[in-house]
């Protein structure tokens, strides 16, 4: 069950896995996510479905190693299996014919943006994509994004590849140059989504973000994932993950993401210590 069929290493910290999950693949839609446990003692962690193949019965996820669970996941190889996989969860992206749309993917957020861009294009939209990362090594899927975009802008924070810029810069320019942008999707770290939303706000362009709050069950049962959108409390796992970026209380999201920092540090150090002894 939930066997890893393929693995690709994009960088030291960014990896792709293809997992067998036929029932989930049958139902998966752009914008949705799954929850996995790497091992029985593991945490339930959400990952966005970056791609799916209904015929093969597979799901593709791209993840960044930031702590114990994702690092542990990074050690698995094809043939290994996940302890559990639940999905598809969350509401799918609302795909319609909007006209011209911009899809912004930052860092590991490029992965979740891909199926959205693909579906938007299939629905007849003119898709402009902006993908960016801190540095060249962290960039991936430039080719894949190219195939689903009418225009593609690539940038890195440090200028190590293509344009040296934060994704908000080309976003702002595009909005200044074209007055026909109907909608923007921005997915990446919370701070990036916050600034993309701030960038689009003066232009009055609806901006959809995919929030990554801490989750436990991801079925609406615990409230760990709650955020405030338009002054109302929402559960990201069932009401989202996509919300109107102009209405999100970003500071609350950022604060809530940091609840367990000391514990996460401890878990990571413990994992690294154990892992190094094993390797030796």
């Amino acid at each position: 069950m939930y066997e890893i069929l393929e693995k690709e290493i994009f960088s030291d910290v960014t990896k792709l896995i293809v997992v067998s999950a036929p029932d989930v693949a049958r139902k998966a839609q752009a914008g949705q996510f799954i929850v996995i446990r790497v091992v029985d003692e593991g945490e339930r962690i959400p990952l966005t479905i970056a791609d799916f193949d209904r015929a093969q019965g597979t799901l593709t996820m791209v993840f960044q190693e930031v702590g114990k669970s994702t690092m542990h996941l990074g050690t698995l190889r094809p043939g290994d299996a996940l302890a559990s996989l639940t999905g598809p969860l969350g509401r799918p992206t609302e795909i319609e014919h909007y006209g011209t749309v911009i899809c912004v993917g930052g860092g590991v957020g490029i992965a979740p943006v891909y199926p959205i861009a693909r579906e938007l294009r299939a629905a007849g939209n003119h898709v402009i994509s902006i993908i960016g990362a801190r540095t060249k090594d962290l960039l991936f899927w430039e080719d894949k994004m190219g195939t689903v975009s009418d225009e593609l802008i690539v940038c890195t924070d440090d200028g190590s590849y293509k344009r040296k810029a934060l994704v908000t810069e080309p976003l702002k320019e595009l909005l200044e140059q074209r007055d026909n942008v109907a909608r923007v999707w921005a997915i990446g770290p919370a701070i990036m989504m916050k600034f993309c939303s701030l960038t689009t706000k003066p232009f009055g362009v609806p901006t959809i973000v995919s929030l990554n709050s801490i989750m436990v069950d991801a079925t609406g049962m615990c409230g760990a994932c709650r955020v405030e959108v338009g002054g109302k409390t929402k559960f990201v796992c069932v009401d989202g993950p996509e919300f109107d970026g102009h209405q999100v209380d970003w500071d609350l999201l950022l604060a809530r993401q940091r609840i367990y920092l000391p514990e996460e540090k401890l878990a990571k150090e413990k994992f690294l210590a154990e892992h190094q002894t094993c390797a030796r």
């Binding site: 945490e43 339930r44 079925t219 049962m221």
Partner: protein
């Protein structure tokens, strides 16, 4: 040593005092998550069983939602016929090791025991636990199953309602698949009720019994997402094509108070807190990966079983940490807007909590949570008094003007009750629901307004009890069986 079996007179029986449950000492149990109640010894069980008068009209049975054959199992127990006791018990109750531990006996079977009129009732729940634990110790032998009927039933939710319904249907020869959203079966038994009250190995043993009847358990399957209800019923979409569906998805949606400050770090729903502690084994962090945070001063809002469990978990986590750090012991408060008499929790658990050192702030209601740098830093409360009884006969709490005061707390756990999770209804019409979100179902049969769909447990009643959920699962199984046989 126990005496050789001899017939006692009624007077002699009534002279035997009720046997207290051996328990871990209060200060000791604050430091661990091991079971608090240790269970009767063989001798204690035998002696307690001798108290039963074997009434011709056993009123005790009327109090039990699944009508356990109480005098019969007690007689077998005291005659030394343990397999007979197991059989009598299990003919009505598929999960006795659980009920013996968590049933609110004092308001169900025991309150109806004749002995309760003059003194203390027979400790029916404790005896039930004793018999069930004996059986688990022996290795459970599954009953013989009738030939398969060829009918398929999908049960949604692996809580007590679903497990009971599935077990009964399997015992009637139907093929049953349980779909459970979480990665572990048991529902509230697994994610809500803590280890020290209901060890998870007991829950898993009871689940294994259900599986031994041939029931298939599909974990990580969220109905409404992975399959819709209509898809389960539809042979064209689903090669399985279930003949009937039982919904036992419980009432798992947490409620908040909607007061300012509820989203600060350090405010938990009881569901989140208990799930982290129990299902995810947060108390074993970092051996297990899921963290849970408890401060030095914790307020738990509410006074049901959920609140007691959250308070006692918080107390344990805080005490263990304080002992490790050599710091001050934590303070855990129950904040409740009514008085002691109205507290909905089991009496035994309120007592346990109090013994362990939980502080009760009654007739007190929070109005606002304060924060500092994103974290809870205090809670403003108002004192309440009980007003006139309302239509339901309960005296309503009313705030005393000007009585606001601030509590210095760093963790707040909201245990205000729960509602059914609407996820299961996604994209499936025809199912009538009340304004509280519960499903409308026939009280006796569990039939809903949608053809071939039954429901029972907390999804119908709202948050209730393990045994009432099991009773509903049982009645629905009987009706589903009638339907499948074309009666």
């Amino acid at each position: 040593m126990s005496e050789p079996i001899k017939e006692l007179t009624t007077k002699e029986r009534m002279a035997i005092p009720r046997h207290e449950m051996p328990r871990q000492e209060a200060m000791e149990r604050r430091k661990n998550f091991f079971e608090v109640a240790l269970g009767y010894s063989a001798e204690q069980a035998r002696e307690e069983a001798e108290r039963c008068l074997q009434c011709k009209k056993p009123t005790c049975i009327e109090g039990c939602p699944v009508e356990v054959r109480i005098p019969e199992f007690i007689l077998a127990l005291r005659s030394g016929d343990m397999p007979g006791a197991v059989q009598a018990l299990k003919s009505k109750n598929n999960l006795p090791a659980i009920c013996g531990r968590v049933c609110p006996q004092e308001t169900q079977c025991e309150i109806n025991c004749v002995l309760a009129k003059k003194g203390k009732p027979v400790a029916i729940g404790r005896l039930e636990r004793y018999v069930a634990d004996w059986e688990l110790g022996q290795g459970v032998i599954p009953p013989e199953l009738p030939p398969p009927t060829g009918k398929k039933v999908a049960v949604v939710g692996a809580g007590p309602a679903g497990l009971t319904c599935a077990a009964d249907l399997a015992r009637m020869g139907h093929q049953v698949t349980i779909f459970e959203a979480l990665h572990a079966p048991g529902g509230v038994l697994m994610y809500g009720i803590p280890e020290f009250r209901l060890p998870k190995k007991i829950v898993l043993a009871e689940v294994n019994y259900v599986k031994s009847l041939g029931v298939e358990l599909r974990l990580n399957a969220v109905i409404g997402k992975l399959f819709t209800l209509d898809e389960l019923l539809d042979e064209l979409l689903n090669e399985q094509g279930y003949d009937a569906v039982f919904l036992g998805t419980g009432a798992g949606l947490p409620m908040f108070m909607n007061i300012p400050g509820e989203n600060y770090n350090g405010v938990y729903s009881a569901n989140e807190f208990l799930t982290r502690v129990n299902l995810m084994k947060g108390y074993l962090f970092p051996e297990w990966d899921t963290p849970v945070k408890v401060g030095k001063k914790v307020a738990v809002v509410g006074a049901g079983n959920v609140a007691m469990d959250a308070a006692r978990c918080a107390l344990r986590l805080g005490t263990i940490r304080a002992l490790e750090e050599g710091s001050e012991l934590p303070e855990v408060h129950i904040v409740y807007r009514r008085s002691r008499a109205e507290m909905p929790a089991r009496a035994e658990e309120v007592e346990n909590a109090q013994e362990e050192g939980v502080i009760f702030d009654l007739l007190t209601n929070p109005v606002e949570i304060y924060g500092k740098d994103g974290w809870v830093s205090g809670m403003r409360c108002i004192r309440m008094e009980l007003g006139e009884p309302d239509a339901s006969g309960r005296r309503q709490p009313v705030p005393i003007p000007g009585s606001e005061f601030d509590m210095d707390v760093d963790t707040v756990i909201m245990a205000l009750g729960t509602r059914p999770n609407p996820m299961v209804f996604t994209a499936s019409g025809g199912l009538e629901r009340t304004k509280h979100g519960t499903v409308v179902a026939d009280e006796i049969t569990g039939r809903t307004t949608k053809a071939r769909v039954w429901a029972g447990g907390d999804i119908v009643t709202g948050a209730a009890t393990v045994i009432s959920a099991m009773g509903a699962g049982k009645r629905a199984a009987a009706d589903i069986d009638r339907f499948l046989r074309g009666e």
